[in-house]
Subunit: 219 residues, 2 copies
């Protein structure tokens, strides 16, 4: 068994968070693709509470929940820090990563896949309010972490990559656009063009095709 294993799913932004962190640290690992319609017994054994990917296994010990995995990777391998050094900056990074998971992503996901026409405007407004909070937090920094990619950038990978592809697949949604959120839009371009990120994102055409078929199945 490899010393470091990662159980993930190719199209999952949460699995990719863990992979990006391992790549940033230069950690070698074995990647194991899961089939969510037929989860492996190892996945169920390693994450009995949530039964979800990603799961990182280090020296036989499993860790679940992508933000918990990111903090673990940052503590277990000290080079190329993902969190800032100072306690206050660390608290801010944790605050925004949590905000992304608990507020921003659920609202974006709901707005993207909503089928009730009469709720559309309200859901888009709510999702955009959360994007606005991120736009304000970004200020004129290159990344949320400053000059280097950090916890919040990695946590925001859905916004940087997946969201644009879902918008394109929908043929109509406009959530993250250059006009609405110029700073966040610029951030997303910078983010996906960083070499370590670019090399670790799911293939664009494959993801776009997957999202298009999800939209087609709705109609």
């Amino acid at each position: 068994m490899a010393e470091v294993q990662l159980f993930g799913v190719w199209g999952s932004p949460f699995s990719r968070r863990a992979e990006i962190a391992l790549k940033l640290k230069g950690v070698e690992y074995q990647y194991i693709e899961e089939d969510l319609s037929n989860k492996s017994s190892l996945l169920l054994q390693y994450n009995p509470v949530h039964k979800k990917v990603p799961v990182l296994v280090h020296k036989g010990k499993p860790i679940a929940e992508s933000l918990v995995i990111l903090e673990y990777i940052d503590e277990a391998w000290k080079n190329n820090p993902i969190l800032p050094e100072h306690p206050y900056e660390r608290a801010l990074a944790r605050f925004w990563a949590k905000f992304i998971d608990e507020k921003c992503l659920p609202a974006l996901w709901t707005a993207c896949w909503n089928q009730e026409k009469e709720r559309e405007e309200e859901l888009i407004r709510e999702a955009c309010e959360h994007l606005k909070s991120l736009e304000n937090e970004l200020k004129d920094k290159r990344f949320f972490g400053g000059e280097k990619i950090g916890l919040v950038d990695i946590a925001a990978n859905f916004i940087g990559y997946w969201l644009g592809i879902i918008q394109e697949a929908s043929g109509r949604l406009e959530l993250l656009t250059e006009e609405k959120f110029p700073k966040l839009y610029k951030w997303s371009e910078e983010y996906i063009n960083c070499s370590v990120i670019k090399e670790n994102l799911p293939p664009r055409e494959k993801l776009l095709g997957f999202m298009r078929s999800r939209y087609a199945a709705l109609n």
Copy 2:
């Protein structure tokens, strides 16, 4: 202005998490009681995203979200650690604290205040499944943190104290009982009898009266 300020609400388990951590560390602080029906302009300024308590202000810099505050307190004051030392143990503590906030507490809260008779059984079953996960995790340890109170214990303070009072106020709910969850029940007794915890919980009669009036208002 005091060097450390805490904006909280007397009956909030989330505010009390922050207070317990400050007391464990022996940090002096100024406590500021908020009126949630008329939030202070300082609270809104310090936590513009969520507009919620608790907010910790250290040397003029605000930190929101109780789990983020706990990690901050542990990093800013090194004595009496709240998180374990080893990265893997830290990851487990973060996993369970997150589980409590994202799964356990919402399910318990919904089960406690549900008014639809036909959903009652299902909601209680779901909440008890989460309590069972905690019971299994506790094993034969005195506290989730081992011999000493740590992050998970503090995160679970609602289960240790509030839940029993809500059950009593309801006059019928049975979620955490000695028969159903003997280990968790024993933990709750140990927890609320620790001096630093006992001295920092809201007064029992006041909280019971508050919960009784909430139940009365439902009928």
